[in-house]
Structures are given as structure tokens and as C-alpha cells.
């Protein structure tokens, strides 16, 4: 079953613009993670935010978490063509033995 659902399903922006993706989930979590997947490749971990954190930064990435709304957002600033990929949120539900449940992903296209 899907725990996280990303919105939008697809996003097309111009290089240099910011990209925002949202994730909603259903149950209480230990942490929420964002992964990137380039076409035909495995997933790469981007950032992890714990349930007691509200915001986290890593380079051009900014993640927020609102546990009251069970939602998270990923902001990529000053996007580059190389950021073109699918982005997935994954939740580590409480009591799950570190089992990650992935959403369906947002496909981001950054046009040069």
C-alpha cells in the first residue's frame, strides 16, 4: 500500500527556476526521506528529516515537515538540467522495523 503520495505527478520548469514537490502520508512516522531516481537507474538518498524536525537544508535542497498535516515538501532552488529525475518521498512508519514505504513520485523535467 502507498503511504506517501507526491504532488504534482509531473513538473516542468525552466533551468534556474525553483521546483517544489509535496508529499502527504497517512500514519505516524519516525522520519521521512526524499530520494531521486534518474532514468533507468537506482535511487539515491537526498535528505532525511526526523519527526521532531520542521525544516532541513542540504545544498540547494530544502525540506519541510508538518506532522500535524502529515505532509512534507521538497524545494530545489536554482534548478539545473541535471536535476531532471523522478523524486520520491519515503516514510519510515512508527513500529515498522525500519520499513520504508515509497510514494508514487514526482517526475521533474528541467528545460535548459
Amino acid at each position: 500500500s502507498q503511504q506517501g503520495e507526491e504532488d504534482p505527478q509531473a513538473l516542468s520548469i525552466q533551468e534556474g527556476e525553483n521546483a517544489t514537490m509535496n508529499c502527504s502520508y497517512k500514519t505516524s512516522i519516525n522520519n521521512l526521506q526524499w530520494y531521486r531516481q534518474n532514468s533507468g537507474r537506482g535511487l539515491v538518498h537526498l535528505i532525511l528529516i526526523r519527526s521532531n524536525e520542521r525544516e532541513k537544508h542540504s545544498g540547494r535542497l530544502r525540506v519541510t515537515l508538518d506532522t500535524s498535516k502529515k505532509s512534507s515538501s521538497l524545494l530545489i532552488t536554482a534548478s539545473r538540467a541535471a536535476d531532471t529525475a523522478s523524486y520520491f518521498c519515503a516514510t519510515d512508519a512508527k513500529g515498522s522495523s525500519y520499513k520504508l514505504i515509497f510514494g508514487s513520485g514526482t517526475r521533474l523535467l528541467v528545460r535548459p
Binding site: 502507498q2 506517501g4 522520519n31 526521506q33 530520494y35 533507468g40 537507474r41 537506482g42 535511487l43 539515491v44 538518498h45 532525511l48 520520491f88 519515503a90 519510515d92 522495523s97 525500519y98 520499513k99 520504508l100 514505504i101 515509497f102 510514494g103 508514487s104 513520485g105
Partner: protein
């Protein structure tokens, strides 16, 4: 540090045939995961090992799928017999002992069942 290795990268088989995938996790990682990713969807966990013991296999179709992790290192996932709906990318991931806070993924095996 070497990443998660998987083989083969691609496999084409006919329905009702069998197929096996291999995964070698990052050295020292106690936890190993197999995921199935159908085109256009997120990865779905099939089975999770902690060392050589199964932690979660609730979404593994046990009538046709099997997995083992002998000696707590590398792992194989087998499908027998394959169905058309098994066409997907099979991803292996590992994480260090102490939890799955960050999972490291291999490149995946793309399976096409005809």
C-alpha cells in the same frame, strides 16, 4: 566504498519461465531489501533481511517468489514461474546495522516477461 551490486542488469524471459537476481550489499551492511518497481510507480518492498533472517516478507508473493540471504551477505531473489505482471525493475538496497535511516540502492535489474 563500493556500492550495492546487482546482476544481471537486464533480463527477458517468457512467462512460466524462472529467473534469479543477485545482490551484493555494501560491505558491513546488516540489512538488505528487495523492492519491485513497476513502471510509473514507486518501489514496493518485497522482503527485508536482517543479517540472514527475514524481518518482513508480508508483500512477497510466496507462491512464486523466494529469496535467501545465506551467510548474511549477498542475496538472491527468484521468480518461478514468472507472470506477465512481474515485468518491473527489481531493486536491491542495503543499510547499516542500527536501522534503515538511509538506504543505499543498487542499479536494479530490469525484467521483461513476454
Amino acid at each position: 566504498e563500493a556500492g550495492v551490486a546487482q546482476s544481471p542488469r537486464y533480463k527477458i524471459i517468457e512467462k512460466r519461465q524462472s529467473v534469479a537476481f543477485w545482490c551484493n550489499p555494501i560491505s558491513g551492511h546488516a540489512t538488505l531489501y528487495w523492492y519491485q518497481q513497476i513502471l510509473g510507480q514507486g518501489p514496493k518492498l518485497l522482503i527485508q533481511f536482517q543479517n540472514n533472517g527475514v524481518v518482513d516478507d508480508s508483500q512477497l508473493p510466496k507462491d512464486r517468489f523466494s529469496a535467501e540471504r545465506l551467510k548474511g551477505v549477498d542475496s538472491t531473489l527468484k521468480i518461478q514461474p514468472a507472470k506477465l505482471e512481474d515485468s518491473a525493475v527489481y531493486l536491491c538496497a542495503s543499510s547499516s546495522i542500527g536501522g534503515a535511516e538511509t538506504q543505499y540502492f543498487g542499479p536494479g535489474t530490469r525484467l521483461l516477461v513476454l
